[in-house]
């Protein structure tokens, strides 16, 4: 229970890339996934683009392990809903009143590919980038340091929050509060759990605000950073190229769609 981050430290070229380069990769991946037509290009994108990048970063297994539990519920619901309830269409399998339609299955396959690339892009970024380095790069580009603080603190504080919730649950159970059983009983137990959790968290917020102020967090002077972000000379070019390619792709899709 150290933190909420997915980051996997490795000594790899992908890890050494500037956080902004990886963020650009991710955003371009997402934009491409959304605009690519048909049901196979997204799978190709995943196999020929994201997986080799993950291999470069030595994180293929962590990537697949992280993608799978998020992806399969989408896949399952897409195939069930689109397959069964596609209006009209050609039935492939029929079971009593229910029948699987070919068009629905094709559509679900395309959507699942799109979601695969979306999830994969974000997870690749999270696995190969230290969150503080990313926030650092973004604050250097004008992101508010307060917003960056909130994002970073959430990563580490959420697990502590869970631990506190467990302590409160145990404390209330030891006083006879029943937190298990049917829905009504669980709902009734919620209030005595939420009250102390919210109140004590608010008190923590006050103390943490004092601690932050005592460390000069409210200063308006220029900030410096201990983390050194390195950037290869060619990375700016790569980012520009990625953005350009994605822009061309989006433009081409828009033009095609309009014709």
């Amino acid at each position: 229970m150290s933190s909420f981050t997915l980051y996997q430290p490795r000594d790899s070229g992908l890890h050494r890339l500037h956080p902004l380069t990886k963020l650009t990769l991710t955003l371009c991946g997402v934009a491409t996934a959304v605009v690519l037509p048909g049901f196979w290009p997204n799978y190709l994108l995943f196999a020929l683009f994201l997986l080799p990048l993950a291999a470069w970063g030595q994180i293929v297994c962590p990537l697949l392990r992280a993608v799978w539990p998020i992806w399969w519920p989408f896949v399952l619901s897409l195939f069930l809903v689109q397959g069964l309830f596609w209006p009209g269409g050609t039935p492939i399998v029929t079971l009593g009143p229910l029948s699987f339609k070919q068009e629905g299955v094709l559509f679900a396959t395309a959507m699942a590919g799109r979601i695969l690339v979306l999830i994969g892009s974000f997870l690749l970024l999270s696995l190969a980038t230290r969150p503080d380095a990313l926030m650092n790069a973004l604050t250097a580009r004008g992101l508010s340091h307060k917003l960056a603080y909130i994002i970073l603190a959430a990563i580490q504080i959420v697990p502590r929050f869970q631990a506190k919730a467990e302590t409160i649950t145990a404390a209330q159970q030891s006083r006879g509060l029943e937190t298990q059983g049917n829905l009504l009983r669980r709902a009734r137990a919620l209030l005595p759990l939420l009250g102390p959790l919210i109140l004590s968290s608010l008190m923590d917020v006050e103390e943490r605000a004092i601690a932050l102020e005592a460390r000069g967090f409210g200063r308006r002077t220029l900030r410096t950073s201990l983390i050194l972000l390195s950037e290869q000379p060619w990375e700016k070019g790569v980012r520009a190229l990625l953005l350009l390619a994605t822009a061309v792709l989006i433009l081409a899709r828009t033009v095609l769609a309009l014709r």
Binding site: D132, A153, F217, R219, T224, L226, L228
Partner: protein
């Protein structure tokens, strides 16, 4: 000029009838190690918050009198400016960790980053502070992976690295186990010996105070009840504090006729040994 000059300070938190500090005046010279004792609700924490500017800037409320700390008029100086000259450490080690840094070293550097200190100087000062507080071997760890005593040393390192002229510690050991408490007091003894920073410490560890402090201020109901060197205060019979273990034992021995009725009561362990040898 004194580092701290408080004149006739009266302060009430918002929506309270009773003031937390009443007509309080206090002067602390440069480099002094001043301790503050008193029962709960005596105003000790409020005094700490006033020295660091959180009263009145964070808690608001009503403040009268004048407060000069490290050359700043507290009522007129924004918190961000006070932070560079006054360091504040409080009881809960956990809530003093920013949560936004992933290693002990980065946590220590957080204040310097906010002050805009150049990276080379930041690194040097951070390493120096890690060494002073005995955290060098833990520099790469997550701040959350430390023990309570280590976290509290980290909190102290994190404010000391900003080179405050005054370090204020509000019951820094009250949530620590005995081992953690000892770590903090060993560090404080080292800091006090260095003598670079004036220290105001609120604590109930009277034995330690008796041995190390320059001065003890007794607060009661928002007022200063007594103020003087540890030996005069901690052996006194007139105050609402119990005195050190040694004083209590000597007093008991005296009441049972085991020790002479005259002479000074012991405050430190060494004095106690001498006292009982005599008796």
């Amino acid at each position: 000029m004194n580092l701290v000059e408080l004149h006739n300070i009266t302060y009430s938190y918002p929506r309270t009838a009773q003031p937390a500090l009443r007509d309080l005046s206090l002067a602390i010279p440069q480099g002094q190690f001043c301790t503050v004792v008193g029962v709960n609700g005596a105003g000790k924490s409020t005094l700490c918050y006033l020295l660091a500017g959180f009263v009145p800037h964070f808690y608001h409320g009503e403040l009268t009198g004048t407060a000069q700390v490290a050359g700043h008029d507290v009522a007129q100086t924004p918190l961000a400016e006070m932070a560079a000259d006054v360091g504040l450490v409080f009881a809960n080690p956990f809530n003093q960790i920013t949560g936004a840094r992933f290693s002990v070293r980065e946590e220590v550097a957080f204040g310097l980053e906010n002050m805009g200190i150049p990276r080379a100087e930041m690194l040097a000062r951070t390493e120096e502070m890690l060494a002073l507080t005995g955290l060098s071997d833990l520099a790469e760890r997550s701040p959350y992976a430390l023990s309570g005593g280590q976290q509290q040393r980290l909190a102290i390192a994190s404010v000391l690295v900003m080179r405050p002229r005054l370090l204020v510690l509000d019951e820094p050991t009250s949530q620590l186990d005995p081992a953690g408490t000892q770590e903090i007091f060993a560090l404080l003894a080292k800091l006090v010996r260095r003598g670079e920073t004036a220290v105001v410490l609120v604590s109930h560890e009277l034995e330690w105070i008796g041995q190390h402090a320059d001065r003890v201020v007794v607060l009661d109901d928002g007022r200063i009840l007594a103020d003087g060197p540890p030996r005069a205060i901690l052996a006194s019979e007139m105050l609402p504090i119990p005195g050190t273990r040694y004083t209590q034992a000597a007093r008991r021995a005296r009441a049972e006729g085991l020790a002479p009725a005259q002479g000074e009561l012991p405050v430190t362990l060494r004095e106690a040994v001498a006292f009982f040898r005599q008796a």
